[in-house]
Every structure is written in structure tokens, then in C-alpha cells.
Symmetry: C2
Amino acid sequence: MGTKKIPEGTISRLFVYLREITALISVNIRTISSAELGNRVNLSDAQVRKDLGHFGQFGVSGSGYDTGELKAALERILGKDKTWNVAVVGIGHLGSALLAYPGFKQHKLSVVAAFDADTKKIGKKISGVVIDSIEDMPKIIKDKKISIGIVAVPSESAQEAAGKLVTAGVSCILNFAPTSLSVPDKVKVKDVDLSRELETLSYFLANKR
Amino acid sequence: MGTKKIPEGTISRLFVYLREITALISVNIRTISSAELGNRVNLSDAQVRKDLGHFGQFGVSGSGYDTGELKAALERILGKDKTWNVAVVGIGHLGSALLAYPGFKQHKLSVVAAFDADTKKIGKKISGVVIDSIEDMPKIIKDKKISIGIVAVPSESAQEAAGKLVTAGVSCILNFAPTSLSVPDKVKVKDVDLSRELETLSYFLANKR
DNA sequence: CAATGTGAAACGCTTCACAGCG
DNA sequence: CGCTGTGAAGCGTTTCACATTG
């Protein structure tokens, strides 16, 4: 199990492979080569093999990978057997869209709590989740065993929201605010910074040939 | 103008510098060193100098950068003088949230069209934008000189939506669907794959300590 | 003989370190 | 002297290339 340092890109590509393999199985394809799989997800054959190689040997020389076996292996590696509980903080346009997002269930994540500072929103139910007061966060996070917090508040309140989530005990934060959060090392933060993506596009447009 | 290949990270940091410089100017700071600027945005002095170095020489040995000059240079480099028109395809929860997103204006982007396949939605107005039929896309994209298309439809229809946007003439696509789109090389695609971010968190939780 | 698994080479970005300039 | 601009070193990832295997 001497798992060295696995590149983050590898992890995220494994999920892509898993998605594709699942699709292949559903059309009864039993075997696939790294070249063919890479082709379908726009990656090189070498990349596919290197990524898988971090976790063991799954292929058969000369014929490729058994889709069923590979699927099982990927699910095991990626921890698809467990479900994690999620809380969303900040129920504006984005927060509401997140509550309705079907992807959570698909990824074995369950949104079990929503928080907002606006007292007018408290008690309302959106996409089946009741909005609670931020005051009650510590208790609810603990009671419901929530390990992922999603920050969907404006930048100004993002650090505060993150701090409260961390104190309450979450292990990961998905941050939609365009600010860099400071949290203890043991907490994993993933930023989804739409502003940055948009800015990159602007630059591309301004500078293309 | 032999602009070599500029790292994407550099571009995105230039926007960070611009933001900071603008703040500095507003409190009448006229000069700043790479070390001090880096410090304020959590980057090394060398990183700041390398990033700027891609575009010319803006600093003064011994004293640093003139904030006014640097601001002007960054705005020119980043094309902050122009505004780009945007269309959103797929007006579900996410699409609606995007139409309401205030960040567009801040980045000199203007959402001027929205499309949906659902005839019941056509003609409705959301956050000031009227929803049009996908049929009318080619004409509207051309008439309104739209250069950025945002794909906010389910995965199954993402490739089709992207294809139509490209045919209609957009130069960039911001893709929220968890599929890799195939488009001609001249078109820039940025993926915002929420599923992947969530999955990475799942992996982190499943494999921590 | 087709396709894997994997060292070695290439690459791209960041950090270092210092010559040179005001 | 302080700080820039920039080659060179360092590092993590991707790509290459091939010996190996069923």
C-alpha cells in the first residue's frame, strides 16, 4: 500500500475513466485498450496507463483492460462505496442551484443541511432541504455527521463562513467565493472560481490572432 | 510582439495583481516592489517579476514599480478596455443562477442572450434576459456579436449545444457539463466541472489518514 | 503480435541566485 | 545599495519508447 504522492490530476482523471467505463459496460463492451479509452476522453494512451499504474496492474498484455474489473478497481480506489454528508452555506441563486443539483446523488454525496444568515429564509425548504440559521451550524454539522461544507456566500463573508464550518468540524470545503480562504492544514479546500475562468476567457479573446 | 506561450497561471495572476494595484492606488500608494506586492497576494517576489517579465519591463531598478504605470500596462495586456458579449444555453437551475451572477459585469462581460430547448420557457425573462429558442441561435449570436457561449445543459445535450454555438460563431465556450466537448482548435473551451471537484473531495475523505 | 507497464527523456512552471542598473 | 530582470537549477507531470507478456 506504499501509496506515494498521487498527482491531483490523476485522481480527477480516474473519475473520468470510471464514467467512461460505466458507459462502455452499459453497451456491453467487455474489453478496452488504453489507447481506445484515452481516445474517448481526449487523453493519451500513456497518460491512461500511467494513471492506472499508480494503483497496481489491471491490464492484460495484448488485449487491454477488462471493463468490469477496471470499474470495480476504480470504485474501490475512489471510495465510491461510502456516502458523505454535505452542507451548503449561503442560499442565494448559486446555493439554491446547488441544492437542486442532481450530481450530488450521483457522486454519493448527500446534501443534508443548508444555512443562511438571512432570517427571512430560515425555515424555508428548497429542493427538500430546510434552511437553518448559521447560529445552529455547530450542532447540526455534528449531529448530521457532515464532512463537506460548501461556501456559496459573497466574498466578504466567505472567510467567516469557512471558519465556522471548520470549527464545527468539516474536513473539506468547496469554495465558490473568489477569495483564498485560510484554514488549518488538515482541512482540504477546493476553489471553484468562476471569476478566474471568465477572466481567462477575456484574455483569450483580447489576444487571439 | 513575439508573444511566446504564456502560462495560464500567469494570466490569472495578472488579474490578481491588477486588483491589488487598483486597491493600492486608491490609498495613494505610488510605488511598490515585487516583494511587497507578492506579499500582499501570497506569492513570491520572483513569481511576480517572472509574470510581468513575459510582457516587457515595467519596473525601475532600486525602487520598484510605479503603480499607475503598472495598472495601465496590466489593463492593456488583459484587454480590460473591451466588453465581450455572452450567451447562456440551458436555463435550468444553473443557467438561471448564471443569469443572475453579478461577476459578469465586473469582468466586462455582458450576458445578452439565453437559449433553452424547452418551448415553455421561451419568451420568459430571467434577470433581464429573454429566453430564445435554440433554433434562433445562429442569427442571434451573429446579430448580437456574441463571442462567449456558456453550456449549462445536461451532459447528453452538451456536445450538441457546443456544436451549435461553434457553428454560430462563438470563439470561447465555458462548459459546465461533465463531458469533454470536441470543438475545432481555434475555439477555446474552459471546463468548470463541479462533479470532478466533488469527486476529488470524496477521494480525499475516503483516503485521509 | 497487440497492448501493457515502466524507466528515461522531455516539458512547463516555479524558485533560486545574481549580474546590472538607477 | 535596493530592487529589477533573467539565465540556470529544481521539481512535478506528461510523453516517449521499448522490453515484456499473454
